[in-house]
C-alpha cells in the first residue's frame, strides 16, 4: 500500500468544478460569525477552548496554592477546593482537549488534508460550534449560581454528587454540570458525524484511506470513538438528573443523608461508575489519538523522513481505538465491583500497551537516520515522546490490578494522568499550533518566544508531575484539600509540595508568552509563504494562503502518493507533495 514513488500512473485530470454561487457567504456575519466554513469554525472552536483552558489553568494555580502553602490562602476552603478540582478536571478533559482536537484541529485539517472543499454538512457544523459555546456558557455560569459549581470531582460519582455533603449537590451546581455535559454531547455529535462522514465520503480523487496522513487517521478514529462513547455519559447524565430532580433511584440505594433516611431504594452507585468509565476510558484515547496522529506528522515533516511503519501505525491506532472499549473497569479495581473482573480488565489493559508501544517505537525509528530540524514543532514532538512514555509506563503500574491497589486514588494517579493525558497532548497542541499557524494566518510565530515557551513548559511540567508520583507512592491520597497531620508524611513532603506549586505558577505564567506570541505574530510574524516547512500533505499545497472558503479554487487536488514522500532517493527536493504526479527524480529503485 506504500506507493511506489516512481509511478507509471498517468496524470489524472483534475475534476473541474464550477463555482457554486449559493455556497459563498455574502455578509460579514455569515462569513465570520455564523460561518459555515470549517476553517472559521475551527478557529472559533480553538479560541473558545483555549479561553476555557486559561480558566482551568487559573483554577490549577489556586489548587496548587492551597496544596503548596496550606492555610495561607484562607478563601480556598474545602468547598472551594473541591469546586476547583471538579471544574478544572472537567474543563480540561472535555471542554478544552476534546473540543480543541476534534472541533479545532479536526475542522481545520480534515477538509484540507483530504482535499475537500469543506465538511459535508456545513450548516450542522456551524450548529455544532454554537451548541458547544452554549455548553461552555452553562458550565461557566455555574460559578455564579447559588451554591456555586459542583464539587463532586470530575467523575461525578453518586450518591455523593447529588447529596448535601458535597458543594452544589443540593444546589444548582450539579444540575448545571449535567445539563452542560448533555448540551456538549449534542453539539459534539453534530460535529463528530461530520468529521467521520467527511473522511469517508469527501476525499479527493486518489486519496485512498491508506494514503491519508496519520493526523486524519487519528482525528477520524477519535471522532468515531467519541460517537460511541459519549452516549454512555449522556444516559448517565440523564439518569442522574432524574435522581437529583425527580427523586428517582437509578443510582440511589436506601441511604441516610446527614442522619436522615432518604426515600430512595434499590439503585446502584456502581452502575454510574460503569457508565462513566465506559465513556471515560475511551475519552482518554479520544484525546490521545489525535495527538498521536498529529505528532506522527510533525516528526516526519521535521525529520524529513517518511513515518516509519505507516501501515503498522494505522493498525495500531485502530487496535487502540477498539481495545479502549474493553478496559474501562481498570478505573474501578477498588470500587467494590466483583473482584474477578480484575483479571479480565488487567489483561486487556496491559494488551493495549503493545500497540501503544509500537507507536512509540515507530516515532523514534522515524528519527533514526533522519535529517532532524530542531524547529519548535519538532521540539514539542520530542517533549511529547518523553512525557507520553513516562505517563504510559506508569499506566502499567495502575493497569496491573494488584499494583493499583496501593496507588489508586493517590497522588500517583494524579501525576500519571497529568503526564499522559494532560501534559503530553497539550505539548502536541502547542507543537501543532506552531506548525499550522503559518497556514492559518500566513505568518510564522516568533521563534525566540517559541523556544522560551517550549523549554519552560516542558521542563517545568516535568518538574511538577514527575516528583508527584513519589508523594502518591508514599500514600498521600488525591483530592485532599489538606494533608496536615498525617503521621506518615515527613516534613520534606511539604517542601516538595511547595516546590511543585512554584513550578506550576511558572509554567502557567509562561503561557502568557505564548498567548502574546499568537497575537503579536498576526501582524509582525515573518511572512510564511504557502509551504514554509516544505511538507507533503495537501493543506500546504493550497493555491492561496490562508486558504479561502472552498479551499482549492477551481480545481480539486488529485492525489498520487502517500503523505510521507520525504527524502525520496533521486528526487531533486527532499519532499514530494501528495498531489505531485511526476516524481522529479533521476534514478533509483522505488519502494513497494
Amino acid at each position: 500500500m506504500v506507493d511506489v514513488p516512481l509511478g507509471s500512473t498517468g496524470v489524472v485530470a483534475a475534476p473541474d468544478v464550477e463555482d457554486v454561487e449559493l455556497y459563498h457567504p455574502h455578509s460579514w456575519v455569515t462569513k465570520y460569525v455564523f460561518s459555515q466554513d470549517a476553517k472559521i469554525i475551527a478557529i472559533q472552536y480553538a479560541f473558545v477552548a483555549l479561553s476555557v483552558g486559561l480558566v482551568a489553568l487559573v483554577l490549577s494555580w489556586l489548587m496548587r496554592l492551597q496544596l503548596g502553602f496550606p492555610g495561607v490562602f484562607t478563601f480556598i476552603d474545602a468547598n472551594a477546593y473541591y469546586q476547583f478540582i471538579t471544574m478544572h478536571g472537567m474543563m480540561m478533559v472535555v471542554y478544552v482537549l476534546t473540543a480543541l482536537f476534534l472541533g479545532g484541529f479536526g475542522n481545520y485539517l480534515i477538509p484540507l488534508m483530504i482535499g475537500a472543499r469543506d465538511m459535508v454538512f456545513p450548516y450542522v457544523n456551524m450548529l455544532s460550534f454554537w451548541i458547544y459555546l452554549l455548553a461552555v456558557l452553562i458550565l461557566v455560569a455555574s460559578f455564579f449560581a447559588p451554591g456555586g459549581p459542583t464539587g463532586a470531582g470530575w467523575t461525578l460519582y453518586p450518591p455523593q454528587a447529588i447529596t448535601s455533603g458535597t458543594p452544589g449537590g443540593q444546589d444548582w451546581g450539579i444540575i448545571m454540570m449535567l445539563v452542560s455535559l448533555m448540551v456538549f454531547i449534542i453539539g459534539f455529535t453534530m460535529g463528530g458525524l461530520n468529521y467521520v462522514v467527511t473522511v469517508l465520503q469527501a476525499r479527493a480523487r486518489g486519496m485512498t484511506l491508506m494514503r491519508m496522513p496519520l493526523t486524519v487517521w487519528g482525528i477520524f478514529t477519535a471522532s468515531f470513538m467519541a460517537l460511541l462513547a459519549f452516549p454512555a455519559l449522556f444516559v448517565g447524565a440523564v439518569m442522574m438528573l432524574f435522581d437529583r430532580a425527580l427523586g428517582t433511584s437509578f443510582f440511589m440505594p436506601a441511604i441516610v443523608e446527614m442522619g436522615q433516611p432518604l426515600d430512595r431504594n434499590g439503585g446502584s452507585p456502581l452502575l454510574f461508575q460503569h457508565l462513566f468509565w465506559f465513556f471515560g476510558h475511551p475519552e482518554v484515547y479520544i484525546v490521545a489519538l489525535p495527538a498521536f496522529g498529529i505528532v506522527s506528522d510533525l516528526i516526519s515533516t521535521h525529520a524529513r523522513r517518511n513515518i516509519f511503519g505507516y501501515r503498522m501505525m494505522v493498525w495500531a491506532l485502530l487496535a487502540i481505538g477498539a481495545l479502549s472499549f474493553v478496559v474501562w473497569a481498570h478505573h474501578m479495581y477498588v470500587s467494590g465491583m466483583n473482584p474477578y473482573f480484575g483479571f479480565f480488565f488487567a489483561t486487556t489493559t496491559l494488551i493495549i500497551a503493545i500497540p501503544t508501544a509500537i507507536k512509540v517505537y515507530n516515532w523514534i525509528l522515524t528519527l533514526w537516520r533522519g535529517d532532524i530540524h530542531l524547529t519548535i514543532p519538532m521540539l514539542f514532538a520530542l517533549a511529547f515522546i518523553v512525557t507520553f512514555v513516562n505517563g504510559g509506563l506508569t499506566g502499567l503500574f495502575l493497569g496491573n490490578v494488584v499494583v493499583d491497589v496501593p496507588l489508586s486514588d493517590t497522588m500517583f494517579v494524579v501525576a500519571h494522568f497529568h503526564m499522559v493525558m494532560g501534559v503530553a497532548p497539550i505539548l502536541v497542541i502547542f507543537g501543532a499550533i506552531y506548525h499550522w499557524y503559518p497556514k492559518v494566518t500566513g505568518r510564522m510565530l516568533n521563534d525566540g518566544l517559541g523556544k522560551l515557551h517550549f523549554w519552560v513548559t516542558f521542563l517545568g511540567a516535568y518538574a511538577i508531575f514527575f516528583p508527584m508520583h513519589y508523594l502518591g507512592l508514599m500514600g498521600i491520597p488525591r483530592r485532599y484539600h489538606d494533608i496536615a497531620d498525617m503521621a506518615f508524611v515527613p516534613p520534606s513532603a511539604h517542601t516538595l509540595n511547595a516546590f511543585i506549586t512554584i513550578m506550576a505558577l511558572i509554567v502557567g505564567a509562561i503561557q502568557l508568552v505564548f498567548v502574546f506570541n499568537l497575537f503579536w505574530s498576526l501582524r509582525h510574524g515573518r511572512e510564511a509563504g504557502g509551504n514554509p516547512w516544505r511538507a507533503t500533505t495537501l493543506e500546504w499545497q493550497t493555491p492561496e494562503t490562508p486558504p479561502p472558503h472552498g479551499n482549492w479554487g477551481r480545481h480539486l487536488p488529485v492525489v498520487y502518493r502517500w503523505a510521507y514522500d520525504y527524502s525520496v532517493p533521486g528526487a531533486d527536493q527532499d519532499f514530494i507533495a501528495q498531489n505531485q504526479p511526476w516524481p522529479t527524480r533521476t534514478s533509483g529503485a522505488g519502494h513497494g
Binding site: V2, Y157, Q160, P253, R304, L350, I358, I364, V405, D409
Partner: protein
C-alpha cells in the same frame, strides 16, 4: 547538541531522583509484601524502557541533526524489526502481568481462618463492629439506622446480641491474625485505606464489599478515606492499633463489659472515643 544533552539529563535525572529522593513508601505492616515486590519488578522494567527510549532519542537528535548535505534514509517499513519489537514488548508486558495476576488471586481469596469484622464509614467518620464470642456478625439494614442503633443492626438477629460496636475511629487488631473486613457505608462512597497495609477498597452504599489482610507488626497506623465523599473527605481519619495477642485480649475484655450496656436501648455508649 543542547537538546540531546537535556534529554540525557532528563533520563538520568529521573533515575537519580528515584534512587536518592527521600520520598518512598511507608514501612509495610501487613502481609501484602507481594504487592511491593510487584511494584519493584514494574519499576525495573518500566525504568529500563524509559531510559532506553529517551537515550535512543537523544542519540538520534545528536547523530542525525540537520547538517549541510545530510539526506534522510528512505525506508517506509521494516517488517522484521517491527515484529521483533512487538514480540519483545509482549514478553515484557507478560512479565509484569503474570506475577500481578497471581498476587491478585491471593488478594481476593480470603483464608478460612480470617476473622470477620465490619468497617463502617459514614460522612465523615469511621466505626467498627467486632463479631463477639460467637465469631459472627449480625445482619444489618440501612433503614434501621437511628440514634440508638447507629450502624443499623438487625436486633431480631440472635447474632446481634454479642456484636461489639466501636464508634469514633479506633480499630484494635491482634497481630498476625488474618482479618476479613466487610465494608459498609450508609450514605456515599468512601474508601478504607491504610498506607502501611497497602490495601484499600471502596465502601459502597447498598452493598457490602470486602478486603482481607494480616497485620504483621504492632503499632498505630492511620486510616484514611481515599474516595471523595464530600467536603469532610480529608478529615475522615481513624486509627488501627495493632497489638500483641495478650494486650488485644485485655482491650477486648474491657470493651465487652461496655458493649453489654450498649445493647440497652436508649443508652449510647460503648464508644472508645467520645464523639
Amino acid at each position: 547538541m543542547a537538546v540531546a544533552l537535556i534529554l540525557v539529563l532528563v533520563a538520568v535525572g529521573s533515575v537519580v531522583f528515584h534512587l536518592v529522593s527521600p520520598w518512598w513508601w511507608t514501612p509495610i505492616a501487613s502481609n501484602w509484601r507481594y504487592i511491593d515486590d510487584t511494584i519493584i519488578i514494574t519499576f525495573w522494567i518500566t525504568g529500563a524502557v524509559f531510559v532506553a527510549v529517551i537515550l535512543f532519542m537523544a542519540y538520534c537528535v545528536y547523530r542525525f541533526r540537520h547538517q549541510e548535505g545530510r539526506q534522510a534514509h528512505y525506508e517506509p517499513e521494516n517488517k522484521r524489526l517491527e515484529w521483533w519489537l512487538t514480540i519483545v514488548t509482549g514478553v515484557g508486558v507478560a512479565a509484569m502481568l503474570t506475577p500481578g495476576l497471581f498476587v491478585w488471586q491471593r488478594f481476593i481469596t480470603v483464608p478460612d481462618d480470617a476473622t470477620d469484622i465490619e468497617i463502617f464509614g459514614q460522612q465523615w467518620q469511621w466505626s467498627f463492629r467486632l463479631p463477639g464470642p460467637d465469631g459472627q456478625l449480625a445482619t444489618t439494614d440501612t433503614r434501621l439506622i437511628s440514634p440508638d442503633n447507629p450502624l443499623g443492626l438487625n436486633r431480631d438477629d440472635p447474632k446481634s446480641q454479642d456484636d461489639m460496636v466501636i464508634e469514633g475511629g479506633e480499630l484494635h487488631l491482634p497481630v498476625n491474625k488474618p482479618v476479613k473486613a466487610l465494608l459498609r457505608s450508609p450514605d456515599v462512597l468512601h474508601d478504607f485505606y491504610v498506607p502501611e497495609f497497602r490495601a484499600k477498597m471502596d465502601l459502597v452504599p447498598g452493598q457490602i464489599s470486602y478486603i482481607w489482610f494480616t497485620p504483621t507488626r504492632t503499632g498505630t497506623f492511620e486510616i484514611l478515606c481515599a474516595e471523595l465523599c464530600g467536603v469532610g473527605h480529608p478529615q475522615m481519619r481513624g486509627k488501627v492499633i495493632v497489638q500483641e495477642e495478650s494486650e488485644y485480649q485485655a482491650w477486648l475484655q474491657e470493651q465487652a463489659s461496655k458493649s453489654f450496656a450498649h445493647l440497652t436501648p436508649g443508652i449510647r455508649n460503648g464508644t472508645v472515643m467520645p464523639d
